[in-house]
Amino acid sequence: MQLQNAKQRFEAQGIKIAAISYDSHAILKEFADRLKIDYPLLSDPDSTVIQRFHVLNQKAAGINKGMALPGFFYIDKAGVICEKYFERSYADRFTPNNVIAKLFPELTVEVTQKVDEPHLEVELAQSDRTVIPGNRLSLTVDVQLPPDIHVYAPGVQGYKPIQLTVQPSPEIRLASSSYPVERMLYLQAIKEQVPVFTGKFRIVQDIKITASRVMTEWLGATGKLIQVNAELQYQACDKTICYPPASVPVSWQLQVLPPDEERSPEAIRHR
């Protein structure tokens, strides 16, 4: 369903989409009719293609035997796999919008908040506003520094590096974070090279929405609005002055919907 909503965004980039599962043609037809899905849902009932892509869930047994591990491949026009987005846990998966955000960072996302601080401007965005349990989405912080200002990159010695720290909460878990490649700056005063960021750069933090029975109960029938809070810590300096380490509170809001648990009619289910 989320892919149906993101379909036009992929197509606008010249990318065709399709989903593959071990479901029968009958299951897929009923599902597509019920949810009005018009991108191709491909039936791989003997899991041949699933095995060719090495994504067969080896642990699945009984009626689940033959199931794929959920995730995305991006295949370029030459037929080469250029990216893949898979999670270790079968309950977790990247949102289609997060895949778009990773393939095309310049169209990531919806800007949700702007913060002006003395030495930097921060723009917050997110790959998705509406999510379901198990979704992996990205939260982004775009930082713009004035021309003569730098902040320190992770790994610096003796200065406070810029760091985004998300407050833990039971509704979310942290996935990978990504910082830009640092630039080495020679500081005359200490006669040393230090790793810094300058100009405009982006920090990306992926998070996963907790999938559990407790979470499903808490979400109820209509879902909940949650707020993800974080601190952006940094130390800004120019050629002559280093300002005291600072911290900016930032937050993103997410509408979490309950998981869709409607099943196919009894007659066509997996046996």
Binding site: R52, F73, K77
Partner: protein
């Protein structure tokens, strides 16, 4: 093998989507070991969709490529 991998990455990078994000470096990775590796040729396939149409690598070829989603089941 390593050289082949790098060569393919360059091919991917010249095609568009990968170009933009590559100033970023993952500081913490949570890559997974399953699934064909990045750089591998995608296997060929031909499967029937919900409308009864055959879909293959060729029919799903967009001007900028294809995103294939593997899902567990439409009937959880």
């Amino acid at each position: 093998m390593k050289n082949a991998y790098i060569a393919v990455l360059i091919v991917c990078a010249t095609l568009g989507p990968r170009m933009f994000g590559k100033g970023q470096s993952e500081k913490t990775t949570d890559s997974v070991s399953f699934g064909l590796e990045v750089g591998a040729k995608a296997p060929s396939f031909s499967l029937k969709d919900q409308f009864g149409q055959k879909q293959s690598n060729e029919t799903l070829q967009g001007t900028n490529g294809t995103v294939l989603l593997f899902v567990r089941s439409a009937d959880l």
